[in-house]
Symmetry: C2
Subunit: 287 residues, 2 copies
């Protein structure tokens, strides 16, 4: 009995070799745009010095997260052609990629967005499609599928924070051929039993394992307007195990994304080929 093998669509990409992934927890401050820009550029420069291939910074890194009013969010929002992205690109070697969150303004509509930046400029922007709690007061949810960005370091699937808690999202990206999910987050501290990880990390481990993909989550550091963050930054391998925790707010792992292209998990099983889509039809129904 040979397993049914899943093959992602599109032309095959050359499999990348070893890829250095680094997540840098930052502590941006609401209202301090210039200070936050400095934090971001310093973090990118430090990652470049560490010879990192894929740099991950938090959700809403340019602005901070805990807005008090819509006006405040509007004042801190930037456009996707903001000068900052060019300044980041200028720091990068040819194949290095930086992923970071920012509040995006387009025609006075705000989105909780993530930019994927390379040396040549912006490779993709994703607008978070599943908004968490008070974000709904400020942001409009994106209406497009998350991007799958083809890079020298593999296919990067982009999600933001609560998106990852919808199992359909990492599943969709795995089916499309993602090797590594890059997930800027802002995880507020929530209670959990002693001896357990933060629940968001358990969900990330499960998402990695059931889909056979690597996941890099970059959380916030510090406290913002009284809100504490889990500091749950982690790089997770394709089996769901954490291979890098933050040390001094920096988590670094050398991973081999080509392993995400092998979905066989036994002589007769394939993580994605074993799916029975004809039994999942009710997942498409309107909730």
């Amino acid at each position: 009995v040979s397993p049914r093998r899943h093959r992602a669509g599109g032309d095959p990409l050359p499999a990348p070799g070893v890829v250095r992934v680094q997540c840098r927890q930052l502590a941006p401050r609401v209202g301090d745009a210039e200070g936050n820009t400095r934090l971001i550029l310093d973090a990118v420069a430090a990652a470049v010095a560490d010879r990192v291939d894929v740099v991950v910074l938090p959700e809403l890194a340019t602005s901070g997260y805990v807005f008090e009013t819509l006006r405040e969010a509007q004042e801190l929002a930037i456009t996707r052609d903001d000068d900052l992205f060019g300044r980041i690109g200028e720091l990068l070697p040819a194949s290095t990629v930086v992923v970071l969150g920012f509040p995006e303004n387009e025609d006075d509509t705000l989105y909780n967005s993530v930019a994927v930046i390379g040396a040549a400029g912006c490779l993709a922007v994703y607008r978070k499609t599943h908004l968490w709690d008070r974000e709904k007061l400020f942001f409009t949810p994106g209406d497009e599928h998350p991007p799958l960005v083809e890079t020298a370091h593999g296919r990067l699937g982009i999600l933001v924070c609560y998106d990852l808690e919808m199992p359909e999202m990492p599943r969709s990206l795995a089916l499309r051929g993602a090797d590594l999910l890059v997930v800027p987050v802002n995880w507020p501290v929530v209670a959990h039993p002693a001896g357990e990880k933060a629940p968001e990390l358990i969900l990330a481990q499960a998402a990695a394992r059931v889909n056979g993909v690597f996941i890099a989550c970059c959380d916030r550091a510090g406290t913002e307007r009284g809100q504490e963050w889990t500091e749950g930054t982690a790089v997770i391998d394709q089996y769901g195990w954490v291979v890098a925790w933050p040390e001094g707010h920096v988590a670094t792992a050398d991973i081999f994304p080509a392993l995400a292209r092998e979905k066989a998990i036994s002589a007769r099983n394939d993580l994605l080929g074993d799916r029975r889509p004809e039994l999942y039809t009710d997942l498409g129904m309107k909730a």
Copy 2:
């Protein structure tokens, strides 16, 4: 911004009160049908003495798991009207439910099935739809959605072992209104990092949390033909936390399944209502 609320279809069921769930790890022996019957009937009698409402026994409890040949599996398979199920039913108070696995023979085709038994007889049979490894040598996968069994103790969704590792399966049952997923399993020991749970348990925790449902997994005990089992039996609450581990191979929890009917997780979020089915259309595509 009010959250979009998910409501499962069908008439509302009265919410059950406190429900006692008990999983009993057994160690059936291949080929010892009469001994396995005794193990099962003794386990059910003991659970009834413990005033259990929902009793969960392992996958393939009547037969054992590690078949050497198709002929052996055929000889140990039984039909869904086997006398055993009536004998179990005779032990049960009016509202008690027993869930256990058996190799089902219908017209010389074998299925890895689970029976849901009440005092009045068999309430449902589910044929595992995602087969693991050598099971494919013996069994035909089921072609039907897993059952949602309406009982005095809530709506029970039934899955078997590897089914639970497909995130679409618990998701579908949650959307249909399941309160408690009942999952007979046979989890072979697999390597995992020190300090981590068995990976199947991490997936079960995530499935419970993202869907807001309770999950009761009943694993095997002992060693069978050299195969060791994780003994990962657990009852997991609707937040994904383990509320009962086995003590002497028996895990018991008093749960309140009505909590699974509240999917709000913030003032503005609903676990199922937050879904964006229009973005998940590729999940239905053929793998």
